[in-house]
């Protein structure tokens, strides 16, 4: 690549940036394409997880049903939970973040585009590996939290648990790599003038989540490694009969598991903190509180894990501590609700589909929050734990909350990502159908739970008195499926025939609306300069600038001004645009890692063959890394100067 060609103001490398067709996707390093790959693959996994849920609901629709065998039922709830959390919700959030964060902070890409590509491939391969288990003896059947000692070889003899370990492991590496990328991108690649206190709240939440992720995931990784060693290499970490400790697994899992629920919900709180102001035509109420309460939630989230373990019998002191800490965490969460309500208060509300979903988020999340508070009280919890009441709680926060938040985000940003509007009429049908059928599905679970119906039973007897609640839930779930089909139909038709989206269809306030829909590969021809939290409203409504800016304290404003001043001298327009070249290296490395993973699963049982597979995996990895180093040298931003 001739360095001399890269003159000021040109895009480099010139035409090779996007390869045509499939090659373009397989070799892409563009955060927008990677974002779309995350969204599409996560949505596919999400649909599969939904089918698993439907199968379970059909089985439970009537008492004494024989539609699924007990073993298949166990596989279904394990795969459903694992899929929805690790392969559905998390990557949907990552996908929106990948696409939007660089645009919202005025950057041209993520900090490490190749690492970004590695993350998406490892995620996809990790998900596929989890599903390979269905074809080699059976999927994992131990629940998404995989309690010991049920996961040990004598109780779970198929390779299902091993595939669970390696599949989660690969997506975990992908998540940590992705989180590092978000941290560096957000901290280091903001446009001039975009101080931390001017960042869009969605970006704030992605930053917090990235930090939670890098500290929570390694703990799960260690737990699963120890489990793998127990299953194959003779250790006894979680084998009580040999002095191991089954409760240790619970500690490790939930030390990760509770922060994980914030990993799922915080980005969607960020989404609705963008959507609500836009459609209320008002700045967010209490920006700083929404941002910093996110930080508080992130910290506190590491101190409440044992509220999932009240039934273990950790003792009154521990129970009191974890109960109290859980109540405490509800405070910043609760105040956020009031921030959102105050944002809408006296605003001129535009009830688009996206806005409806944001309002749906608030109302359903409140219900889930309240059931969470009841569960956080140890004496009440002992009654409710492991019952359908917990299932109701988690679905009100994860579906009523997180999923509706993601739909708010998708309806909001789909025009930006595709250049076409989604059909609003269809969208509103979808919203109302979903809201009703969601409540029909999950509200009765509060009742069946309190009437004693345990989770994870494949059937129940007619005399138990849970027939009506279960029938209602099953009907609701079938209607929910229709709502998802409406969405799928909407996407497939709108992407071809939807009306053309302008750059700024919603009259938004943040930078992503300043570029065309979809944005050019390089995002911004000229790096934008930011002077407030709402750069676009400043530009469109200069007379409102004072009102908008007045939320900053004088000190913050001064800092911002100094920043503006310092950057003001730089001839921004002349800066050369530098884009990462496409490369297959991340894909190759991921394939190598996946083969390594298969080898690890079978190392204990088929030593030589598995070891050779591992060797092959390592060689493929090495090849990929070599070409990675080469391209990163050629591609170095320093080369452009």
């Amino acid at each position: 690549m001739a360095i001399a060609e890269r003159t000021a103001g040109t895009v480099s490398p010139p035409s090779v940036s996007v390869r045509p067709g499939w090659a373009g996707w397989l070799s892409t390093t563009d955060h927008k394409r990677i974002g779309i790959m995350y969204l599409v693959s996560a949505f596919v996994f999400f649909l599969i997880g939904g089918i698993e849920a439907l199968l379970m609901r059909i089985q439970l629709g009537v008492p004494d049903n024989t539609f699924l065998t007990p073993d298949v039922y166990n596989q279904m709830f394990t795969m459903h939970g694992t899929t929805m959390i690790f392969l559905g919700l998390m990557p949907l959030n990552v996908g929106l973040g990948n696409y939007m964060v660089p645009l919202m902070i005025g950057a041209r890409d993520m900090a490490f585009p190749r690492l970004n590509a590695l993350s998406i491939w490892l995620f996809i391969f990790g998900g596929l590996m989890l599903y390979v288990s269905f074809f080699v003896g059976g999927a994992p059947n131990v629940g998404w939290f995989a309690y010991a000692p049920l996961t040990q070889k004598q109780f779970a003899p198929t390779a299902g648990v091993d595939y669970w370990i390696i599949g989660i492991g690969l997506t975990g590496v992908a998540s940590i790599a992705g989180a590092l990328n978000f941290i560096v991108t957000i901290l280091n690649m903001r446009a001039p003038g975009m101080t931390l206190n001017r960042m869009p709240l969605f970006v704030w939440m992605q930053l917090i989540v990235a930090f939670i992720l890098i500290f929570a995931f390694p703990v799960l990784t260690v737990g699963t490694i120890q489990l793998l060693f127990d299953r194959h290499f003779g250790t006894r970490f979680f084998l009580p009969n040999l002095g191991g400790d089954a409760v240790l697994w619970q500690h490790l899992f939930w030390f990760f598991g509770h922060p994980e629920v914030y990993i799922l919900i915080l980005p969607t709180m960020g989404i609705i903190s963008e959507v609500l102001p836009t459609f209320s035509r008002k700045p967010i109420f209490g920006y700083a509180f929404v941002a910093y309460s996110g930080v508080a939630i992130g910290f506190l989230g590491f101190l409440v894990w044992a509220h999932h373990m009240f039934a273990v019998g950790l003792g009154p002191l521990a129970n009191a501590f974890f109960g109290a800490a859980s109540f405490l965490i509800a405070v910043p969460t609760g105040v956020k609700i009031f921030n959102w309500l105050a944002t809408m208060w006296q605003g001129s509300l535009h009830l688009t589909t996206s806005m409806l979903y944001a309002i749906g988020f608030i109302s359903m999340f409140v219900i889930g929050g309240i059931s969470g508070i009841t569960l956080a009280s140890p004496p009440i919890n002992v009654q409710q734990t492991d019952s359908y009441y917990v299932v109701a709680h988690m679905h009100y926060v994860l579906f009523g909350g997180a999923i509706q938040g993601i739909f708010a985000g998708i309806f909001y940003w789909f025009p930006k990502m595709t250049g076409r509007m989604l059909n609003e009429r269809l969208g509103k049908w979808q919203f109302w159908l979903m809201l009703v059928s969601f409540n029909l599905t999950f509200f009765p679970m509060h009742l069946s739970g309190n009437e004693g119906m345990p989770r994870r039973i494949y059937t129940y007897e007619s005399e138990m008195g849970w027939n009506l609640w279960n029938l209602l839930s099953t009907i609701g779930s079938l209607l929910l499926a229709v709502a998802f089909l409406l969405f799928l139909w909407n996407v497939l038709t709108s992407i071809r025939r939807g009306s053309i989206a302008p750059a700024d269809p919603w009259d938004g306030a943040t930078l992503e609306w300043s570029v065309s829909s979809p944005p050019p590969v390089y995002n911004f021809a000229v790096t934008p300069r930011v002077r407030s939290r709402r750069p676009l409203w400043d530009e469109k409504y200069p007379h409102l600038h004072e009102v908008n800016g007045s939320h900053e304290t004088p000190a913050a404003r001064l800092r911002g001004l100094l920043y503006d001043g310092a950057e003001g001298e730089m001839p921004m327009a002349m800066e050369p645009i530098h884009l990462p070249s496409p490369t297959y290296a991340p894909l190759i490395v991921s394939v190598g890692i996946m083969i390594l993973g298969f080898g690890i699963i079978y190392l204990g049982d088929f030593g030589v063959i598995a070891a050779s597979a591992m060797l092959v995996g390592l060689l493929i990895m090495a090849t990929g890394i070599l070409s990675w180093v080469r391209i990163s040298h050629v591609d170095s931003p320093y080369q452009a100067h």
């Binding site: 490490f112 989180a179 941290i183 890098i214 002095g243």
Partner: protein, 203 residues
């Protein structure tokens, strides 16, 4: 190519970032934060099981198995490698290629010596009857130190790749930063060993 042309002065190539810290350096710091939790969990597991091990019929006494002299030598080797790493970085920043090569390869050599020592130790312990499945001590000890050893091995590969990259592109202005971030990771792995040495071998 003159020795001093290995790196250009940093200022000339500094790339603008919001915090003023190099992207990759920030990324490696965050990664080290993540790795800290990884090892903290392994070490915690070790301590959770130490008293349980003592109370069991198949109790194996760490004091009886662990050879403090050998590990003191290993610890010194790793500490020395941190010193040579610092020297390699400073040579790289000076643009002094000969000493850079010397110190970096010395670091790699010391890392390999550590791994060799650990292989010897594991082999020895195995023949003494300490295995992954012989006791809770074996279970926790091997997984903890084994994963540390794996990290040292990854560090050696990382250092070698930096070495070859610098050889292939001696004029790249990124060289000093390549060395610096590999060094950060290397020091971290050393520090973990200090923790393991004190907590597992000495106490």
């Amino acid at each position: 190519m003159s020795e001093s042309s290995m790196t250009r002065p940093q200022a000339a190539v500094a790339h603008h970032t919001s915090l003023g810290v190099d992207n990759r350096k920030l990324g490696v710091w965050a990664f080290i934060g993540s790795e800290t939790l990884f090892f903290a969990t392994l070490i915690t597991t070790y301590f959770v099981f130490a008293p349980v091990n003592r109370a069991r019929p198949d109790f194996q006494d760490p004091r009886q198995f662990l050879d403090i002299e050998l590990t003191t030598v290993l610890a010194s080797i790793l500490l020395a490698s941190s010193l040579t790493m610092v020297l390699a970085l400073s040579a790289s920043k000076r643009g002094d290629r000969r000493w850079f090569t010397t110190w970096l390869l010395a670091t790699v050599g010391l890392g390999l010596a550590f791994i060799g020592g650990q292989v010897y130790e594991f082999n020895h312990l195995y023949h003494e009857g300490l295995t992954l499945s012989s006791s809770l001590f074996g279970t926790t000890f091997f997984v903890l130190t084994g994963f540390h050893g794996t990290h040292v091995a990854i560090g050696v590969i990382w250092l070698l790749s930096v070495f070859f990259k610098v050889r292939a592109y001696p004029d790249s202005p990124e060289n000093a930063m390549d060395v610096e971030i590999a060094g950060l990771y290397w020091h971290f792995v050393d520090l973990v060993w200090v923790a393991i040495f004190v907590l597992v071998y000495l106490i």
